[in-house]
Symmetry: C2
């Protein structure tokens, strides 16, 4: 069915479907070009007359809550991914749905992880029709193999908020796993045995879903504060023995890279930020959680200390290195979207300058601005980049869908966006003629940093001027590309794309940026 | 025009208009009886493409902001009342509107105060067609005299949130005066020369208005935190020299009553709460800011200390006495809706257990429950009460509209609602046959406390049983009424009601509870 649908070439030159899961889609029109003339989604008006006056919304178990919420065939059920690979709720949720006997659900997670592989059996049996959300690991392979009975839709964190806010995705029932909650449904992620720090990825779900179920393993007396989720939006509260695997929710340690190449990349990037004049009193930065970008932060911190520079704010995902910066007075604030380690959780719980943000404040493109574009420099990764600075972050060069977009697309709007990556992986060049999947338009990517040099996007004459006399290895992107091809023995082989689309990549405004195609002969294991 | 419209008798037996300012209205149907089948208001979808990427939304002045916001004839402009009688923004706002030359605006404040008397000239000239919101003092008299070209609509704090949320009132432009803000529009009330503590009364306006203007006299670098108002909802930011008169925003002192009668009422009420078994570990209470209810809190505190009882939370309006309770460990939390003195502001700024709430969390009846009904005991005032415990809080016995509803209606949903009042004022009995204006249905009012005794609503057999052996002066309400009439020389004279409605009182669900009628021969001064 899917491969018979019609396609259109969008403004990025990519072939994208006109219809996605039965609903007409808007092809990508360029950065800032698509301005919708629409109203936000309008959830039903509720009445306190239908809720317990004493505020006690606790019901016996998840099955009771789902039945009371009116679960039925074809509904959209959402979950969040703050527990990452330690989530214990989504699998139970769909086991219960199977037990109830409903079919053809759309699972709308903010992201799915390898721990969710058991949901493949519900995809096979038809309890779940398809997944709409980032899929890491086995579910990504299941999708890449063309096994899912529906097109996956990949969105950024901001795009997911936008999609719910704009009514593009209507959530029937949101199931929000919360490390601490009270019987009224106020909930947070900062305390309890399954503490994850924040619950921002579930915010849009709480605000716009028809029915909201909070599941917790740490039920406290009203009021549970902070109320990252407002009980005024919650229908039912369920107590479970254990909602997350603490050791997998946060690692407890955050590893910086030991690779000499990656350390070099991180150092070059930090020096670039300093020499470009971005690193000055009151500046701001956001760096990802990977080993290279983590090391970038450590190098930058040293440069800041040496120069006596203090940041106004740094954006999290937080980790112990950002927390150290805050505690040592190198930044006024951490504006955090998710915590990556135990230091991050401790800090966001106890330090009033470690501030909770959400996809609404930070990333939603369909708001009256957002924080991402205020950030002076964002340091991110990529799986592939082309010579026009277009980048891929969701598929590998073999075409397999293996990563979510996360906040990556949203962060591209920073005043200076830098992509840090090794110039080749497994002897496959990373700078190529055309990216397998377009995830970020080149016009928003200002600088790439590899161990073989730094390339500045020609659109950024201001940066080229600022670095004119720098001793940094600043080179045209084609020079770096040619050098890599010499080393690797030519251009990389391109994956043979199947003819069947398996997923689409949305841009931050809800338009369709690219299509991900079935990978031929991909062997997957169904547990 | 208005007095030709048709009326209907509602479920409380009150004559109410069928049409209010051209829009059909739903008559009151009883507590918890009106369950709307509707969707919430849907504000326009915005795009960050239309907002400055660097987050700087500052424009030159309020006139520029209003023009950019597209102000035009007939629009609804909202403001909040956190500055109370010290507000300096609303008057300037309508002066600017007059200068621009727009007409027939609807002013939708969360409340108006005596300081807003200058707006009467804009009502006279037609810049403002009418006011929809609580009117204290001169504007109340202007309305009572039948001078306003439109029907005033009085709502509780929760009812105002409900009305905006449900789309009953569409705000075109919200003007939010904020003691501290950043150029992106993040704003709060806790710091700056015009600090008022919170900005919750402007929350619905920020969430649902088409255009939002933040006005501040304390512009700080991004991020202004806490962001009680999210910059993501703000269109323009304006810097003014002075937005509030600090001495009138918070009094700096909160006076307890010195009247022996009122002290007796407060003491009786506190003893009642203790003897009824409400005052136990983990309980909660809310008391108004008047002298009598303030003294109630002080008496209750003594009883709590004596009994070794600790509250889970107390609800503000906060003042130094509540702050003392928090600091002395007599309550885990203050859940605050507005701060009434400088101690309240200091505490909400510095103490993480002094928590910001809003009409959304605390009072909105069209949510999935709210905090008000979770409170164990609410202690409030009244201008009149009848023998069925129906109460009035907006008009005096002469029929003049002089007070707003505030959170009063919302608080009636507490587990035990007590009204404290002197049995007569100026030799006019307060317990009467029929209240001038019905503001609260008697079925929600559990206890009245006067200096001549305590009456328990016969619906509350549990309370009657609990106090059976008490030494407190518990009497049938008719006994107290008869005694007062003996003292005052009979029943009070009833005001001669005009035939023209000047305002309606809405119930928490948006239905029409009662009508306020023109007061004949009321002399008012127009400045």
């Amino acid at each position: 069915m899917l491969h018979n649908q019609e396609f259109v070439i969008n403004a990025a030159g990519r072939k994208v479907p006109k219809i996605i899961n039965g609903v007409p889609a808007v092809p990508y029109q360029g950065v800032g070009k698509y301005i919708p003339n629409a109203k936000k989604a309008a959830p039903p008006v509720c009445s306190s007359a239908n809720y317990p006056l004493d505020g006690n919304k606790v019901v016996n178990d998840l099955k009771t809550a789902l039945l009371k919420a009116g679960i039925r065939d074809g509904m959209t059920i959402s979950t969040h991914h703050h527990f990452r690979d330690g989530d214990l709720v989504a699998n139970v949720l769909f086991d219960v749905a199977a037990e109830i006997g409903v079919k053809n659900l759309r699972w709308f997670p903010s992201a799915a992880f390898p721990c969710h592989a058991p949901i493949i059996k519900h995809l096979e049996s038809g309890v779940v029709q398809y997944i709409e959300g980032s899929m890491n690991g086995p579910l990504g392979d299941y999708c890449s193999a063309g096994k899912m009975r529906g097109l996956a839709v990949l969105r950024s964190h901001g795009g997911r908020y936008q999609a719910i806010q704009d009514g593009e995705v209507h959530v029937d029932i949101a199931v929000i796993a919360a490390p601490t909650a009270d019987p009224f449904g106020n909930a947070n992620g900062v305390t309890g045995p399954s503490a994850c720090g924040l619950l921002g990825f579930a915010l849009a779900d709480a605000q716009y879903a028809d029915r909201v179920i909070v599941v917790t393993d740490n039920l406290v007396d009203f009021p549970c504060y902070p109320w990252q989720i407002h009980g005024n939006l919650v229908d039912y509260v369920v107590k479970m023995d254990k909602i997350g695997e603490p050791s997998k929710i946060v690692s407890g340690t955050t590893e910086i890279t030991k690779s000499p190449d990656r350390l070099l990349i991180a150092e070059l990037a930090a020096r670039f930020v300093a020499e470009a004049g971005i690193m000055k009193n009151g500046f701001s930065f956001q760096a990802g959680a990977g080993g290279t970008t983590l090391s970038f932060g450590i190098f930058l911190k040293e440069l800041m200390q040496k120069a006596g520079v203090k940041a106004r704010f740094v954006r999290g995902g937080s980790n112990k290195y950002l927390v150290q910066m805050l505690e040592e007075g190198l930044t006024d604030y951490i504006l955090d979207g998710q915590t990556f380690d135990l230091d991050g959780i401790r800090s966001i719980r106890d330090n009033p300058r470690h501030i909770t943000t959400s996809p609404f404040t930070s990333y939603n493109y369909h708001g009256k601005g957002n924080f991402a574009s205020i950030v002076d420099v964002a340091v991110l990764g990529a799986t592939e980049v082309d010579t026009n600075f277009n980048a891929n972050v969701v598929t590998h060069s073999d075409g397999r869908l293996l990563h979510g977009i996360g906040g990556w697309q949203n962060c591209l709007f920073s005043k200076c966006t830098m992509l840090l990556f090794p110039s080749f992986r497994d002897r496959i060049p990373v700078i190529i003629d055309e990216v397998t999947t377009l995830t970020g338009p080149g016009e928003l990517i200002d600088v790439i940093v590899t161990e073989r040099g730094i390339a500045i996007n020609p659109r950024r004459q201001d940066l080229l001027d600022a670095l004119k006399t720098s001793s940094l290895p600043i080179r045209p992107i084609n020079d770096i590309k040619n050098e890599i091809e010499d080393i690797c023995g030519g251009k990389p082989a391109r994956p043979e794309k199947g003819e069947k689309p398996v997923a689409v990549v949305k841009w931050v405004d809800g338009t369709i940026l690219d299509t991900i195609w079935q990978v031929k002969d991909l062997r997957i294991e169904i547990k």
